[in-house]
Symmetry: C2
Subunit: 396 residues, 2 copies
């Protein structure tokens, strides 16, 4: 059994992200790991490591319990191994258009190695884009399935804005934020990456059939589960670590207090990736999680794709434009002229002496300022003195 077949087998044995299996594979290699599972029992050194790393205190009965627990794990893996058929898995996966990538392959995204023992054994990919290349400049965009129209609007704007600037979107495949950000990204030219909690060939939710087809055409569907696997709740949570690990940073758009998106945010932080959150109305349940991340200082507040790119992009090279209001004609007046303008009444005219007292400047200055203001169309002379022109430039 070669390395690829061993990894295809491992996908069938433990749940993705199983740390004990991960340790076994990382320390013994995939082929030897399968061999030990087939033998039905761990090697003594591994059993010692397991007992050491899981014990609380040092009682002998506890050690026996831990040994028994590890043996039960091996037994359940062995039971699954009986049913596994990696050659068929590989052939069927490739028949449905998929490709298997394993560590060491050209298309393997090496940033997944940051996951250590929780690194996936292998990935099934479906789609035109090259995963490794796509993820070099990528941002994870995650959020609530039960998104509001505000959330899906913002997600689509982020997707389109990132894609237009050649940044790849990484997200899941769910309703709400996930779907909206992929749709936005597909409007641009960059690839978009959907990491699924089910098999890469399973459309879940099924209403996303045409969306997944579009992602396959312009991006790539990714899964660490065997083809045909159905999604379960823990698989969603475990899948989130891949979304965080594949990208340079994660932005949360809408998350309620108990959103799975906050789990992805936690992975991003523990992987030393950038974390950002988009604020929303404080009256909205689905923004509570975002505001909490910002309040706690875990996430940077970002309001648009440019600001997200500034966060994850090259230092100084990807700065977002500062928001600026319009420059009003009034801004170009000097302070003395401005204070004279402030003192000119709107309806009934006032004489220069009155204006001078109101503005706190001397009469000579008032007269020269009024001349300039009249020439610029701000004020006009009326029988009783000076007043503002009704059609003056905006701002006063």
């Amino acid at each position: 059994m070669n390395d690829r077949l061993a990894r295809v087998t491992l996908m069938r044995l433990a749940e993705p992200g199983d740390a004990v299996m991960g340790r076994l594979v990382a320390s013994r290699g995939p082929q030897a790991a399968v061999g030990q599972i087939r033998a039905g029992r761990p090697d003594p050194e591994f059993a010692r490591w397991f007992a050491e790393s899981h014990r609380r205190g040092s009682a002998v009965p506890q050690r026996e319990r831990l040994t028994a627990r590890l043996e039960r794990m091996f037994a359940s893996w062995a039971a699954r191994l009986e049913a596994a058929d990696p050659i068929r898995d590989l052939a069927e996966g490739e028949r449905s258009g998929g490709r298997l990538v394993v560590p060491g392959d050209c298309e393997w995204p090496t940033q997944l190695d940051d996951l250590g023992e929780c690194r996936p054994h292998a990935l099934w990919l479906l789609g035109e884009a090259d995963l490794r290349f796509s993820c070099l400049r990528s941002v994870a965009v995650v959020g609530s399935r039960a998104a509001t129209p505000y959330g899906t609007h913002v997600a689509a704007e982020f997707g389109a804005g990132l894609s237009e600037r050649d940044w790849t979107v990484v997200s899941g495949g769910a309703y709400g934020i996930d779907g909206a950000v992929h749709r936005g990204a597909l409007a641009g030219r960059a690839p978009t990456v959907a990491v699924l909690a089910c098999g890469a060939d399973v459309t879940y939710p099924s209403a996303h059939h045409s969306l997944f087809a579009a992602v396959r055409a312009q991006g790539v569907l990714v899964s660490e589960c065997p083809m045909g696997s159905h999604p379960t709740r823990p698989r969603f949570l475990v899948r989130n670590r891949l979304i965080a690990a594949l990208s340079r940073g994660t932005v949360v758009i809408e998350a309620a207090v108990r959103s799975g998106a906050l789990n992805t945010a936690g992975h991003a932080v523990s992987l030393n990736r950038h974390l950002a959150a988009v604020p929303g109305p404080v009256t909205s349940e689905t923004s509570i999680g975002c505001h909490r991340l910002i309040r706690q200082g875990k996430a940077t507040c970002v309001t648009g794709p440019e600001e997200m790119i500034e966060l994850v992009g090259a230092m100084g090279g990807d700065l977002a434009p500062e928001p600026r209001g319009p420059v009003l004609p009034r801004d170009r007046l000097n302070p003395e002229t401005r204070s004279v303008l402030e003192a000119v009444p709107a309806r009934t005219g006032a004489g220069p002496a009155t204006i001078a007292v109101a503005a706190g400047v001397d009469l000579e200055t008032v007269l020269s300022c009024l001349g300039g203001l009249a020439a610029a169309g701000y004020v006009e002379r009326v029988p009783r003195g000076w007043r503002l022109r009704p059609d003056r430039p905006p701002g006063r």
Copy 2:
């Protein structure tokens, strides 16, 4: 002329916040300041200070220009002094129900002394509440005049929430956020403080007539301008320093890029008061200023009055409750039982062995977990094995 009459006179001479006048009053006292202005020229030491603190470089012609400039200032103050009638001002102010408070009075809010030379000479108050006592526990709430319905809703919630918890609101008297926060505060029992850029007896905007009457009844109207003064643009900006100085902290609810509220925020920062901002939709122009303050790290993100009180209140004594989602029955299951529950299909039943392989636990555990889950109403036995009950507790 006594101290009070001198201060009433000073209110007529220079614009509020005039730093040169402030320095003159702080160093010479109000009576001597009026005396110098009446004499029409500064004492030599003050002239030297002015020239020193305003010069750029050391050229002699520049010094002469500065001396001339100070003399022009004194001349314009002297011209206003001619027209001033402090005895009438005091009598008319008191006739319209106002009271004058000056530094040293019982009702003088000593936190205004933090303004240094920009401290107001005196304040006119109109209303039932004691200003100094009201501001001991106070929060400034400021924001856009052109507020959205979202902004006015949030402002009213802040006003009511602060007032219910015995915190005084300090704000201006404008449309938008100012008006909404006072209305909210009036729903509670705490006083509310409106600091005006016009005379305390001037209703600006005039549509706020009944609002100002309600503030007078439950709180206090405050102004550093003589009674009857009309508002000008610079007076609004200068007034903002009083709002920031009177309160323990300022919260900005909705501010566009060029909002006057950001000026108040700047005063709060330079006075070492707490600064907070309320986030809003990133699609809203009127939240750009708030998001920028949060992004720049100048303001803390707050989403409700409790969080604002936590920021400005006693350390550890005024903590806001953590937002929490509902506790689902599923949360109380142990991890093993939960993974068995995840593996139980929804429609067609599955046998315990299949469930065991899917859940990754041994058969014995599955059987004991299924028994417990059936007793708790999660699963039921059907001819082909076990499946989820349609009427199971929420969450799975």
